[in-house]
């Protein structure tokens, strides 16, 4: 049990889009240097949680805290300042397609920092080296493969030396080898930089490889939170079905009921 002050806290979060309840009373604490993997079904609200932490969405009820700051009550200026302490790696990389790799990496520093050209070049070189993408500075994102784009996206997230890195489906759409490379990169990076990371995924192999802690989101609620070991031996039928990937079980039933309710 980690007794340190949490870096991020979601307190009784409810998020509704119209009549759709996406998150229904989520409570979660992320401690410094955690690698927290949030698992759950596709479209279940996992990525939405990352957007709440970044302040890109405001909860219908509840509070998001970053250390002592109340994220959903910050002014736009303060929120932008807070966002510089976080880095986000998107599922489809979200690199600016009209800018080269170098320009993509330079963007946050040029816009928000005060570094000399020489220092900026050194930083770009260093971050690209960390993710194993040296020599791609002048390429456009469209000239890179999915895995390469994801690594560049990670390098961009590192440019402001963030305390917290958020990963949205880091292995999605990648072959198993590249997926493992990305996982190793996440582990090494967080260990080297002492950064905390929150990883959203539904790929179990990747989740168990990366996580120091895990949380399972189901029907808008965190139904279990704990160590990877606790998840492997969990008796919760939902967690068990998700971890083993069995066809029969409470997740399948809930999905069928959900579809039936929407087609009635």
């Amino acid at each position: 049990m980690n007794t340190a002050t949490p870096l991020v806290q979601l307190i009784d979060i409810v998020l509704k889009f119209g009549d759709d309840v996406v998150l229904d009373g989520v409570n979660l604490a992320v401690h410094p240097r955690d690698r927290l993997v949030i698992m759950g079904q596709s479209g279940g609200g996992k990525s939405t949680m990352l957007r709440l932490i970044l302040g890109l969405l405001k909860p219908s009820r509840g509070e998001v805290r970053y250390k002592h700051l109340r994220v959903n009550r910050l002014s736009r200026g303060k929120l932008n300042l807070l966002r510089t302490r976080m880095g986000m790696v998107y599922q489809y990389s979200a690199l600016i397609s009209s800018l080269t790799v170098r320009e993509n990496l330079a963007l946050p520093v040029e816009e928000l920092g005060r570094k000399s050209r020489k220092e900026l070049d050194r930083m770009i070189e260093e971050k690209l080296d960390i993710v194993g993408m040296s020599g791609t500075e002048d390429k456009l994102p469209s000239e890179l493969s999915g895995g390469m784009r994801k690594r560049v996206s990670l390098a961009r997230a590192l440019m402001m030396e963030p305390e917290l890195i958020l990963f949205d489906e880091p292995s999605a759409g990648l072959d198993p080898v590249i997926s493992s490379v990305i996982d190793e990169l996440i582990i090494n990076l967080t260990e080297q930089t002492d950064a905390t990371s929150i990883i959203v995924t539904h790929e179990m192999e990747s989740a168990f490889r990366i996580a120091t802690r895990m949380a399972m989101l189901f029907q808008g609620k965190i139904i279990q939170e704990g160590t990877p070991e606790a998840f492997r031996t969990s008796r919760n039928p939902v967690v068990r079905q998700f971890v083993t990937g069995e066809v029969e079980g409470p997740i399948t039933e809930a999905t069928i009921h959900h579809h039936a309710d929407h087609t009635e």
């Binding site: 970044l54 966002r83 976080m86 998107y90 979200a94 816009e111 402001m160």
Partner: protein, 263 residues
């Protein structure tokens, strides 16, 4: 019927409100950056947009205006010739293009050429989460994406409107010389004596305002794209249609107001 009127009125008011919000927030983000001792927008992006909006549009604006001026002079010249008043052609073309057709024609060309490009670009960035990524980095997306585009089109519209007027006068001057026997010296002199400074100022002011409207509508439609490639296509079409209709609508209102005020 009443329900539909209410529905469309509400939707229109929401769009107008959102466009005003976009404008005010873009200014707010720019001011916030000035307070931090930085440029209000990315200079490189601004120059790239001015090049594309201004320099890139010159050939099309010139071409359309040249031939419209030429056609107008030809058609009006033949009619006026029946009454022996074809010498009025330079006055007619000069006033109508400087006050009216120059800004309007440039507005229509830019709404189609640049407005559509702004919407498609921002829409694609929105769909591929690039806009969100910019916001997530703590960079104001409005000052980064909207401000350079908005400033470029607002500042370049008057310049292009001048290009449009000159091209139309050259076109109409040439045809008047060939078909109406109005020599260039007479034509030039008639244009200069018929134009007032107020005509030029009104034309330039209108062009600037039209530029702002086109830019705001295009950026708003781009940033509010939903639903992938189809959404980008639909928003781009909407952007061009709404921008052209708004420019024509405002132009008509402006003319009615000015005509009423000046008698």
């Amino acid at each position: 019927m009443l329900y539909q009127i209410g529905f469309y009125t509400r939707a229109t008011l929401i769009h107008i409100g959102s466009i005003v919000w976009l404008f005010l927030n873009t200014i707010e983000e720019m001011v916030a950056n000035i307070r931090r001792g930085r440029w209000p927008f990315r200079l490189a992006a601004f120059f790239a947009q001015t090049d594309r909006t201004g320099v890139g549009s010159v050939p099309l604006v010139m071409l359309v205006s040249f031939f419209l001026g030429l056609t107008m002079a030809l058609l009006t010249g033949y009619q006026l010739q029946k009454f022996g008043t074809e010498r009025l052609v330079p006055t007619l073309i000069a006033i109508s293009f400087t006050r009216e057709l120059g800004p309007l024609l440039t507005g229509i060309v830019l709404a189609a050429r640049i407005g559509a490009a702004f919407t498609a670009e921002l829409g694609t960035m929105q769909v591929s989460e690039e806009v969100e990524a910019i916001e997530a980095m703590g960079i104001g997306p409005l000052r980064f994406l909207v401000a350079p585009r908005l400033l470029a089109i607002t500042l370049l519209m008057p310049c292009l409107s001048v290009v449009s007027c000159v091209a139309a006068l050259v076109g109409s001057g040439l045809i008047s010389w060939v078909t109406l026997n109005l020599v260039p010296a007479f034509y030039y002199d008639a244009v200069l004596t018929s134009l007032y400074v107020s005509d030029i100022i009104i034309g330039l002011f209108k062009a600037m305002f039209f530029g702002l409207l086109i830019g705001l509508i295009a950026c708003y439609k781009g940033l509010s794209v939903r639903g992938g490639a189809e959404g980008v296509g639909a928003s781009t079409t909407d952007s061009v249609v709404i921008a052209i209709s708004t420019v024509i609508g405002f132009d008509t209102m402006f003319n009615l107001m000015v005509t009423k005020a000046t008698g």
